[in-house]
Amino acid sequence: MGMGSDMYRQQILDHYKNPRNKGKMSDPDFSHSGENPSCGDTITVNVSLEDDGETIEYVSFTGDGCAISQASASMLSERLPGTTLPELEAMDTDDITEMLGVDISPMRIKCAVLARQVTQDGAAMHQGEAIDRTTTEG
């Protein structure tokens, strides 16, 4: 079968059905939301930093949408603690497909990278950058 069937391997479905770190955070260092209009996916990411102000300590998320977007947020929330903000900044699409462990069809890439984009934009705003709105459209 095509690449699509691989997209729904056990790991993705497991994270979709039993999301890790899903929920609000009482006192995050930063939170940010974004959407992927093509699927109607929404993600809010909450991040707390360690005392150095640069290393990610915990990540939680809330959101709604397709399995790819939500599983990607769940996996990212497990993956990010211990990562520094510059390392987060450097993450690209390949890092996400590697994390997901499956080929994502071109039409669905925007779903897969939404959580990463939201976290990166949130971190940039935390560091004083002005960002209008996060979407993975276009």
């Binding site: 095509g2 397709c66 779903c111």
Partner: protein, 425 residues
């Protein structure tokens, strides 16, 4: 392909004219056409987006380019004359197909969207102003909704929406209440590309005309699937796209009543649409050429002629009967599941398409899984975002049928939906 006798048309014979229906899919998408990794038989159920092109229509394009390719209305040479005669005859053929009185009322455009924009700009910008209203339905395609929205913004006119009830039917009492003396244009979709609802266009035309308003009927989903008679509807304008009715992309049709098109200024200016030009001013060519500026869609127009011949050979009543048959079958199979929500009216009063959602599975996930089974459907908002907001869902999955589809293909769809159900359980 099942028992042919049970279909209103000979599906087996029709399918032989569509070699694309025999291809495999599922492998590498970088190189177009069937390749090594393509191992899944195609089940094509995305006809409301675009239909396939039968051999006689493909041949008509090849014959044109191989045999008499030339610009029209420009040359006195032989090829140009052949091309001009064929291109003009295509207008006559379209007129006959939709019950218009002649080529003067048939303008070739790029697609339905451009036909809509032509009227919105050429008529709307000139005629609309503050205090005027344009009445649409809640199930308009963006082609109509976004276009009238922009024209209303520029002219100060208001837009009102005829309600669609919970069963997906147009609320005709609400229509009667909205359409009044402030109404200048009623612009309605004839067959909804999401709900499958069939709009009572003639009744709406009567309401519009009683208040001296015009009616624009969006026939993108109706002209391909059922007999259409613009004079019986008494439509002032009617539009549709060739690519949804066995024709090529790049051609649409705007029908307009002759006296209305006559009174409208051109929408695009340039060559082919003028009669005489000085450095100071210009005069316009006769209808319909006045609205076809520049080198027109010659090959596409000739191919649309061939597509209409193909459909008329089958008979539009029979096309409709086949659509009705498949719509009812698909509706009944899908609506039979507790976890499937089907949008729009019941199976025996809809066009040949079914939009639905499977509980707990996002439409885009569902369409990815259906794609693994070779089933081509469309997921998204189908260019009707406000309607999906009203339905309370971000997206839906839509299966849409045409003359070559079978019940077995709908069974394949239902099996694939079941696979998604198991996967996400």
């Amino acid at each position: 392909m099942g028992t042919q006798e049970t279909y209103p048309i000979d599906v087996g014979a029709i399918r032989e004219d569509f070699p694309i229906l025999d291809r495999m899919v599922g492998g590498d998408i970088e190189t177009p056409g069937e390749g090594e990794g393509d191992t899944q038989p195609l089940v094509y159920l995305d006809n409301a987006a675009t239909s396939h092109t039968p051999e006689p229509v493909v041949d008509s394009i090849a014959d044109y380019y191989r045999g008499y390719n030339s610009n029209v209305h420009r040359g006195i040479h032989h090829l140009s004359q052949e091309a001009s005669v064929a291109y003009e005859a295509a207008h006559d053929r379209v007129a006959e197909f939709i019950g218009a009185s002649g080529r003067e009322e048939v303008v070739f455009t790029k697609n339905t969207t451009e036909a809509m924009n032509l009227v919105a700009y050429a008529w709307g910008l000139a005629e609309l102003g503050p205090g005027d209203t344009v009445v649409l339905t809640e199930m308009e395609h963006h082609a109509s909704l976004v276009t009238w929205q922009q024209i209303a913004k520029r002219t100060g006119a208001d837009i009102e929406f005829i309600r669609v009830d919970d069963e997906g039917r147009l609320d005709m009492d609400h229509a009667a209440a909205l359409i009044d003396d402030s109404t200048e244009m009623v612009s309605v979709v004839h067959v909804s590309n999401v709900l499958g609802t069939i709009t009572p266009a003639a009744e709406l035309a009567e309401m519009a005309h009683a208040h001296d308003a015009y009616i624009f009927v969006d026939g993108a989903q109706s002209a391909p699937t059922r007999p259409v008679d613009v004079e019986a509807i008494d439509a002032d304008f009617f539009a549709f796209s060739g690519h949804k009715m066995l024709g090529p992309t790049g051609i649409g049709v705007l029908y307009g009543k002759e006296h209305l098109l006559e009174a409208m200024d051109p929408y695009l200016y340039g060559g082919e649409m003028i009669r005489s030009v000085t450095y100071e001013d210009s005069t316009w060519e006769d209808l319909p050429w006045k609205f076809e500026a520049g080198t027109p869609v010659i090959a596409q127009g000739i191919a649309l002629h061939a597509a209409i011949d193909y459909l008329d050979d089958i008979g539009m009543q029979n096309v409709r009967a086949h659509e009705d048959h498949l719509a009812e079958y698909a509706y009944n199979r899908l609506a039979g599941f507790d976890d499937v929500e089907v949008y729009g009216p019941p199976g025996d009063e809809r066009g040949g398409l079914v939009a639905f959602n499977l509980a707990g599975v996002h439409a885009h996930d569902l369409s990815s899984i259906l794609n693994d089974h070779g089933v081509a459907i469309r997921a998204g908002d189908h260019c009707t975002q406000p309607l999906h907001d009203k339905l309370g869902v971000p997206a839906s999955t839509r299966a849409s049928f045409y003359i070559y589809n079978t019940r077995e293909e709908i069974d394949a769809l239902v099996d694939a939906v079941d696979d998604a159900r198991q996967l996400f359980a």
